[in-house]
């Protein structure tokens, strides 16, 4: 390439594209230049002066975070002059720093500690009284201690540049300068807590974690956030079986460091005191706790009896259980209970899309594609509220690559801030307005289209036809709501399609039909809440079996409630909104619960169903062998990567039943049933003025 430059850093020649910052070029050469304010992907501040380096022919030390590499430049990063400068910077920083490391949350994972260890003088000449300012609480989740703050401005930048929220600013000057919420004394923001994570010191602390633990006391478990469908990797910090915090500071996974409020703080439902920890059986009209063996025996006897008299079963699966559990559940239903009456809460028309794109390769976008695509089109979805990671990716793409975003939604959305065009259309009518964007879209190199639940059935086909007519490569994302909504479709929790979109011979009842059917004998709800909002099963006398975390409306109607585990408590794989399969691992433990896979496995054994060993690895192996597109590479999963399932290799000759698609309408602060049992999310919902308005 013509615009490459070669420079020498500590004697090593490095070739980088012109304009690369010296600090990045050094990283490429394996040389670590320390810095506080420099933060990859965000604007340069050059404020901390830690990254000063010596450059030949330049009289002053230069900040390597603000210095573009030039041909022939000779850089030294660890000369005595440089080291002396860093020592003095650390000395300066520590003059007014409280040095309360023994009780500071950040102790043990603090960049200032690490840097002091590396460059600290060991003794201080500072004999004066330290400057002090009191700690402040900005929101239920965010505390700020100005005394510890070193003013690196990372928090301001992730909030403003990264998220477009701009809740933080800088106030006062000199040694009194401190970060303040732009609303004065409180935050009106997404409450994502990213500012806390990027803080290199303990200035920003989390209302849920502060003074609770030391970083070395916890185990770190790689999990997938159980809330929305974006599939963010989150590292759970677990101590004694309890989740203490959740973040992704190791930047593993598709989301890097990004997490929204649900991912970072919404895990507290796991330890909600209302969690069911013992099976319940209805005795004399009341649900009474019983032992697992008694509960399972009761279920087995009723199920066996129903099978013997050829009774009617209906099975409702979950959008939050693993692929293995979903696969096993549909096998349990189809081969064990011998019914195709199986469905789940569908929140996006994936089936029509898979059919419309049949036979293509590379027509489904990944989360990564949203950052690299040349343009994006959002139809009928409030991404910032419902798909925070996807919204972040699009914004980052615009920020770094100026890739335009086009929005067609019923109301204003945050993407309007920077969208190239924002059109308003009634829900369901979004596709009708696409012609207005044709010329602008045609001019791009490629396009990613994201569509929400209001685009379904024929509208999806028209959308694909429009995409085809543009003459550029177009990729699609069908937006669905929950962590494994997409996996539930792929695994065949559908009355007319088995795993991998294979049509079944005799389609069963879909969800609405099950709800309306008056003659069901057994209704089996594995981790769903179809009775939410006062709905009822028309089969008044059906025997209802429910796997649940909480005593939901459905669980209250049940005859047997089996306490199940949440996603955080089990191993398995889930498929995100873009069809990317990721592995999640068990972190916390809640006494008395079993995973859905274990529950079904125990019942299958007692009922004599020959549907395979209920172990996660075995079931995953079967999925990889038998489900279309799911032969995902194990090493990718094992190393925390995301592998996109290739589901587009054949038509799906069935009615997609678009009327069964119903969006849950969650916001940043709600998350279906789990959200109701997360006190933190509820607390934020109740706080006035907390919600960021676009």
């Amino acid at each position: 390439m013509a615009n490459m430059v070669t420079l020498t850093i500590d004697g090593k020649p490095v070739t980088v594209p012109a304009g690369t910052l010296v600090i990045d070029a050094a990283k490429q050469a394996g040389i670590d230049i320390p810095a506080f304010c420099y933060y990859e992907g965000f604007s340069v501040q050059a404020a901390c002066r830690m990254c000063l380096v010596e450059v030949e022919k330049m009289p002053k030390l230069q900040p390597s975070c603000a210095l573009p590499a030039a041909e022939g430049m000779v850089v030294h990063t660890e000369t005595p002059k440089v080291v002396e400068a860093r020592k003095s910077t650390i000395e300066f920083l520590l003059t007014n720093h409280p040095l309360d490391c023994p009780v500071c949350d950040k102790g043990g994972e603090c960049e200032l500690q690490d840097m002091t260890f590396r460059y600290g003088l060991g003794e201080s000449q500072f004999l004066e009284i330290k400057h002090h300012a009191d700690e402040k609480q900005w929101s239920p989740l965010v505390f700020y201690d100005p005394a510890r703050c070193i003013l690196c401005y990372r928090c301001i930048r992730v909030c403003d540049e990264g998220l477009g929220v701009a809740a933080l600013g800088l106030s006062y000057r000199g040694v009194s300068a401190e970060i303040i919420p732009n609303k004065g004394d409180h935050l009106e923001c997404d409450e994502c807590g990213w500012c806390i994570d990027v803080c290199p010191v303990g200035a920003l602390t989390s209302g849920t974690y502060r003074y609770k633990s030391r970083p070395w006391e916890m185990n770190y478990v790689p999990a997938i956030c159980t809330h929305c469908s974006n599939g963010c990797k989150t590292t759970l910090s677990v101590r004694n079986g309890e989740i203490i915090r959740s973040n992704n500071r190791d930047r593993s996974g598709i989301n890097g460091e990004f997490l929204c409020v649900k991912g970072r703080f919404g895990f507290d439902f796991v330890h909600n005191e209302e969690r069911l920890q013992s099976p319940l059986i209805r005795k004399d009209g009341k649900l009474e706790p019983v032992s697992w063996s008694e509960a399972l025996k009761f279920v087995v006897s009723r199920v066996r009896e129903t099978i013997e008299r050829n009774g009617k079963f209906a099975v409702i699966g979950s959008t939050r259980t693993t692929n293995e559990e979903n696969f096993y559940l549909q096998k349990f239903a189809r081969q064990g209970l011998r019914t195709n009456n199986i469905d789940h809460h569908r929140s996006g028309d994936v089936i029509t899309l898979v059919d419309a794109l049949a036979g293509r390769t590379d027509a489904l976008a990944t989360v990564g594609d949203l950052y690299t695509c040349d343009a994006a089109l959002v139809l009928g979805a409030d991404l910032a509220q419902q798909h925070p990671l996807l919204a972040y990716q699009l914004r980052a793409n615009w920020r770094h690559h100026r890739s335009p975003v086009f929005v067609v939604t019923p109301g204003p959305v945050r993407e309007d801030q920077y969208a190239a065009r924002s059109l308003r259309a009634e829900a369901g009518g979004e596709v009708e307005r696409l012609e207005e964007l044709r010329e602008e879209l045609k001019a791009r190199q490629n396009l990613v289209v994201l569509y929400g639940a209001s685009v379904k059935g024929e509208a999806v086909r028209r959308l694909v036809a429009f995409g085809d007519s543009l003459g550029i490569p177009v990729k699609y994302v069908c937006l669905v709501d929950y962590v494994n909504s997409r996996g539930a479709v792929d695994m065949g929790l559908l009355p007319h399609l088995g795993p991998g979109y294979k049509p079944v011979e005799i389609p069963g009842m879909h969800l609405d039909a099950m709800m309306a059917a008056p003659d069901l004998d057994v209704i089996w709800v594995a981790g769903a809440n179809p009775l939410e909002g006062g709905r009822e099963f028309a089969s008044k006398n059906a025997f209802v079996i429910v796997h649940e975390l909480f005593l939901t409306e459905t669980a209250q109607r049940a005859d047997v409630v089996l306490p199940s585990m949440s996603l955080y408590e089990k191993n398995g794989t889930v498929t995100n909104v873009c069809g990317e399969v990721q592995r999640t691992k068990a972190g916390p433990k809640v006494m008395g619960t079993k995973s859905d896979l274990d529950i079904l496995g125990l019942l299958a054994a007692q009922l004599g169903f020959d549907i395979g060993i209920p172990s996660q690895e075995k079931v995953l192996d079967e999925i990889r062998r038998t489900v279309r597109g799911y032969n995902v590479p194990l090493p990718v999963l094992a190393t925390g990567g995301a592998a996109q399932a290739a589901v587009l290799n054949g038509n799906v000759p069935v009615d997609a039943q678009p009327e069964q698609v119903r969006p849950s309408g969650d916001t940043l602060f709600t998350s279906g049933t789990l959200g109701k049992y997360s006190k933190r999310l509820a607390q934020l919902m109740e706080a006035p003025g907390r919600l960021f308005q676009p």
Partner: protein
């Protein structure tokens, strides 16, 4: 308004040429026009923009704000062909302690500044200018606003300047009281309505200044020199001073001196001549102890170092700088520990807090020197002052850190013995008998 002193015979009044007599009223437009006002812009409008820049280059005019960057060169960096609008910004923040020259120019001869800005605007192809003026200068803001209104009325400003079809608009913009906003990029941030933090350079304002458009930012005095350069030619102006140090400049004499005030002298006049002849010598017949030659950021000169020409290069050679021309005289009774403490208090107060060495360094210096002023401390403290200053020098984001470190280092080194003696005195807490408070600081 401050009374402008009558001219001293050794003065060479160019910028102040309209004031042969003491006066209290500004030169309004009619008087300005009678004394060849707005002749320079008429001449400049007939010239090619490149010629204007060349003339300013020939004049060897250097920025009068403190850094002394050659003005013509600064103007030549602006890409006139850029499709973006270009802007002219006047730095009238005048925050350097001891400096009081810009207010004299704005207060007495406001149209000279407007004319200088017009010529600058013409040279770079701008259509818009701002005078960024410190908020404390309320009366000068009013004078400038009236002068600008007069200029609009007579067609020197507006959408058709003097019927040439060239559009130029000018207005004042009030600062909110920050020394840092005298730094050109912080000034631009403030002008844009943001927090007055300095910007990363490059890009320099000539490429990306106000609202990310090519911009020239110059001091009031610099713009005020331009009309006469255009009228009389660059060579004429250059010849007034020494080589590479063209023209005359305003000196703000303050401190322990008989006749404090603002005087205009050719560049290169001996510093002692300025003090003793024009300023009438140290007050009350006392002896000279030290001089701060170019505003509070310039390293102090001991009495014996003052026998040098007052121009950019000579003062730089002597380890100090001409800076803003604010010359603060300190007599023999001055407690240098107190001077140091007062200066450091100023810089700690004015540090914007953006970068670590300046934010923490100035505060640390303030705390140490406040102790020394009280007579509490040891020799080690003086070493620490020196070390802190060295850790700040050249490592801060903007020159404010240097501005604090340079005088700290100079005083701590040159008056080490005096401070040590103070610390050793049993009655160190008692004020020095007969010591006078500084007038300006």
């Amino acid at each position: 308004m401050t009374l402008l002193a009558p001219p001293h015979p050794l003065e060479k009044r160019v910028l102040l040429r309209r004031f042969p007599e003491p006066r209290t009223e500004p030169v309004w437009i009619d008087e300005y026009l009678r004394t060849d006002g707005y002749e320079a812009i008429r001449k400049a409008l007939a010239m090619e923009p490149e010629q204007i820049v060349d003339e300013v280059k020939k004049s060897a005019l250097r920025g009068r704000g403190g850094a002394g960057f050659p003005t013509g060169m600064k103007w030549s960096f602006v890409d006139r062909k850029s499709p973006k609008p270009k802007y002219v910004v006047v730095n009238a923040d005048e925050g350097e302690p001891g400096t009081c020259k810009d207010r004299i120019l704005m207060g007495y001869d406001p149209h000279r500044l407007i004319e200088g800005v017009l010529i600058g605007g013409r040279a770079i192809g701008a259509n818009r200018g701002w005078i960024y003026i410190r908020g404390e200068y309320r009366e000068y803001i009013d004078i400038l606003d009236r002068a600008i209104a007069e200029a609009y009325e007579r067609g020197f400003l507006g959408s058709n300047v003097l019927g040439t079809g060239w559009e130029f608009h000018l207005s004042t913009h009030t600062g909110a009281g920050s020394y840092e906003c005298g730094e050109e990029t912080a000034l631009l941030e403030s002008l844009e309505g943001k927090r007055g933090n300095p910007r990363l350079k490059p890009p320099f304002p000539a490429t990306s200044g106000a609202f990310q458009c090519p911009t020239i930012v110059n001091n009031v005095e610099t713009f005020c020199a331009v009309p006469d350069i255009i009228l009389n030619g660059g060579e004429w102006y250059a010849a007034l001073g020494t080589p590479k140090n063209g023209g005359t400049r305003l000196v703000c004499l303050s401190g322990h001196i008989e006749r404090p005030g603002v005087y205009e002298v050719p560049l290169g006049m001996n510093l002692l001549t300025i003090l003793n002849e024009i300023g009438g010598g140290v007050w009350k017949g006392r002896k000279l102890k030290a001089v701060i030659p170019g505003g509070s950021s310039s390293p102090v000169l001991k009495a014996e170092e003052c026998d040098i020409p007052a121009d950019y290069d000579s003062l730089a050679k002597a380890g100090s700088m001409l800076g803003s021309g604010a010359t603060v005289v300190l007599d023999e009774t001055t407690d240098m520990a107190k001077v140091l403490a007062r200066l450091m208090k100023f810089y700690a107060h004015e540090s914007c807090g953006w970068c670590i060495p300046c934010r923490e360094g100035t505060t640390w210096l303030k705390k140490i020197t406040a102790r020394l002023e009280e007579g509490i401390g040891s020799e080690r403290d003086i070493d620490t002052i020196d070390r802190i200053s060295q850790s700040m020098l050249g490592r801060t984001f903007c020159p404010l850190g240097d501005a604090a470190a340079m005088p700290a280092m100079a005083i701590a080194r040159k008056f080490r013995e005096e401070i040590l003696e103070k610390l050793s005195r049993a009655d160190a807490f008692a004020p020095v008998e007969g010591a006078q408070p500084l007038v300006v600081l």
